[in-house]
Symmetry: C2
Subunit: 332 residues, 2 copies
Amino acid sequence: MKINSIGEFGLIERIKRCVTPGGSSVLIGIGDDAAVVEGRPGLYRLITTDAFVEGIHFKREFATPWQIGWKTMAANLSDIAAMGGTPRWAVVCLAFPETMSVEEAEELYRGMDAVCSEFGCSIVGGDTSLSPDRILISITVIGEVEKKKLTLRRSAKIGDAICVTGDLGGAQAGLDVLKEKGKTDQKVVERHLEPTPRVKEARTMGEVAQIHAMIDISDGLSSEVHHICRESRVGARLFAVQVPILPDAKQVASRQGRSPLDYALNGGEDLELLFTLSPVDVERLKAHLLSNTGTRVTIIGEIVESESGVVIVGEDGRERELASLGYQHFRD
Amino acid sequence: MKINSIGEFGLIERIKRCVTPGGSSVLIGIGDDAAVVEGRPGLYRLITTDAFVEGIHFKREFATPWQIGWKTMAANLSDIAAMGGTPRWAVVCLAFPETMSVEEAEELYRGMDAVCSEFGCSIVGGDTSLSPDRILISITVIGEVEKKKLTLRRSAKIGDAICVTGDLGGAQAGLDVLKEKGKTDQKVVERHLEPTPRVKEARTMGEVAQIHAMIDISDGLSSEVHHICRESRVGARLFAVQVPILPDAKQVASRQGRSPLDYALNGGEDLELLFTLSPVDVERLKAHLLSNTGTRVTIIGEIVESESGVVIVGEDGRERELASLGYQHFRD
């Protein structure tokens, strides 16, 4: 069977069936942002891993080695944030062609180390090897989370408010600017190349409210909403006018003749957090997060019954199904 | 600077300097078979990671997807064994071309799961993505070890006996047989494609003796002896006649006009354990290991003062320096 016929998410479902289920030490196996296994007293241990292939996930013509290091590590830290946790230790596999210099390899690690240091994580090991023709990076980050602060995809409740941190669309707009060449919309390019994982925000949220479900926006808002709904067996109603779009991304969209909402819904790589919680907790959480991290939280919709599906109310007031158009490997 | 001018091990030394040292939670960072960080009460947590690139680490013409899965996972479990630990949880990154079938991907995971299941480890997560032209696998395994059973490279003591488990040379002989085509020396091919990580042996050893230093033989015996000596600041004297060589590997060597000792010293990938301990403990350990696991232990030399260097006494009784000729990436 060709992989394109089932896509990345279909493949993951099949892989699950090839793997012996973990014993009592495994709370969450394949299928969330990170695995959750037993940890030190009162804590769960979180394990997340991601691979990045030159030409697929990044291009050397667009990013310095330092930026490639920063971004790949940031994506992993973001997965730990999505579980409500604190990243602690990272290991890195780097395979690259002989044409790459020692200095480039060093810059790559410095970029990884910079974002790790900012969020209290240490690079403790790894593996280096030869790759014939392109750079390959894989990173595993191990984190910890207090048992009652763990946030899964599967725990959204009907009636929850659906919220996001920050602004969306910047990362995709940044990629389009890089492709344009000669353009220098610095802010969106920075969002694309040096995204900030929302580790502090995730930790701060846990101080004042019970977050029901959470995921980071790595493939695109539309896919992530679908992930939460599928895992939680609920539906969702989003409101297009409420989706926070980075102003600079709107400018790029207008220049490119693209829809800013499309950037936000389907662009991916923003590394913002998408989460659900009881509506009565939202105002307290917004105020606490703004004063402690400077980050804004926006309500973009509500969790509804599964039968209602996953829909978005457009700017015209009409409701339509929300297609899951975020990035997915192996899709025709 | 070109990477070939410093080699893989030189690169690792430089990477260490680019990375902020871990805090008090990190006992061993970059440079052993696995990182060692704080764990559950009485335990250290071990983290090891390895990447495997098609065409460099494995070839699809020689191995089935199941075998590729088995071998790549076995190499990681072996790293946990080398620290004296128990593998617990694994995460897997798999990137591959669209031409690979769903069934091949499933077989790869089944091979990984088979060796994990045999040694009490669970695959709990991962990442799948597209790779333009070759399969890329990276695996991270997290293990645990009782604090006093931890075995590092750096703790060999002068006067220690140097020992290995099992027989050496089989994996390299197996690779040569596969390259010959048409030949079917099943035993060495199996050693190459389906090696057994010595997890049970490492755990059993810890029951009856204090192992001083340990490493697994993944790059070749000669390199591994040098790693232990450099990290422990000691020398070593090996005896060629005592190095245990798999009888089937001797046959292949003779057919190929190669030296069986060369297979054992420089072949790599045998996944046997190389370790040092007080000579008074050796006989007890050998008997205990044989009766509990069926695995033989052989003394191949002794730890000496650093000034004496790393030498091997040949079959002719003459002592010569032991060159570190095991596999190393980025070496001219």
